[in-house]
Symmetry: C2
Subunit: 121 residues, 2 copies
């Protein structure tokens, strides 16, 4: 019944991991932005996030995992570059897969809830 999911539906999923890290859409989008822009600052900027905030989230993630998720060359005129490590790519891919699994395995439940909604005026 996946095809019946209304396009306006959005799902946000937060994982509270053992050890205390919360992994949710913000950190996932930040990781994706770093992979796409090659820069922590640029990734944060396109999310409307300060440089300091973006760095803080990266440091939080890097500290929580055995290997850092983001490798970066801090400093330099351009602020250095950044990229996802294999572990960072893995965490991002698995998080996205978890959302996809939810939408697929939960399609009937979501459809049952939306079927009870008041039709839009």
């Amino acid at each position: 019944m996946s095809d019946d999911l209304p396009p306006e539906l959005r799902l946000r999923l937060r994982l509270y991991l053992p050890g205390g890290l919360m992994l949710g859409p913000g950190k996932a989008d930040l990781l994706e932005g770093i992979a796409e822009t090659g820069s922590i600052a640029a990734a944060g900027r396109r999310m409307g996030m300060s440089y300091k905030r973006a760095w803080s989230l990266v440091e939080e993630m890097n500290a929580a995992f055995t290997a850092p998720l983001v490798a970066s060359a801090r400093g330099g005129a351009g602020g250095g570059g950044a990229h996802l490590t294999a572990e960072g790519q893995s965490v991002l891919t698995r998080y996205r897969a978890l959302i996809a699994a939810t939408l697929q395995a939960g399609a009937d439940d979501i459809a049952a809830i939306t079927a009870l909604l008041r039709p839009k005026a």
Copy 2:
């Protein structure tokens, strides 16, 4: 691989439904509390939520669905009673089933993420 999920792991899932209602753990817990206590006030109280806030959430949910999720007898000395309608029970059951489906279908993804975590000191 569901058995491999660490017990300390928690998952919070928010559905942003067509029409604008957000359905998440707070509203689900409130519905469950109403079913268990027979009272909107008591359900809110055990979540540390004000009577006004609990009523506001119930009214928001009732307005979003074709049929109300909570039926209540407002007023009276004891504040009247409340119970879930069939639709309210259905929405709650489906929301809980969606979480269960996520944990089951996403077990491998969750396990892959947690396997990369730094072991606790």
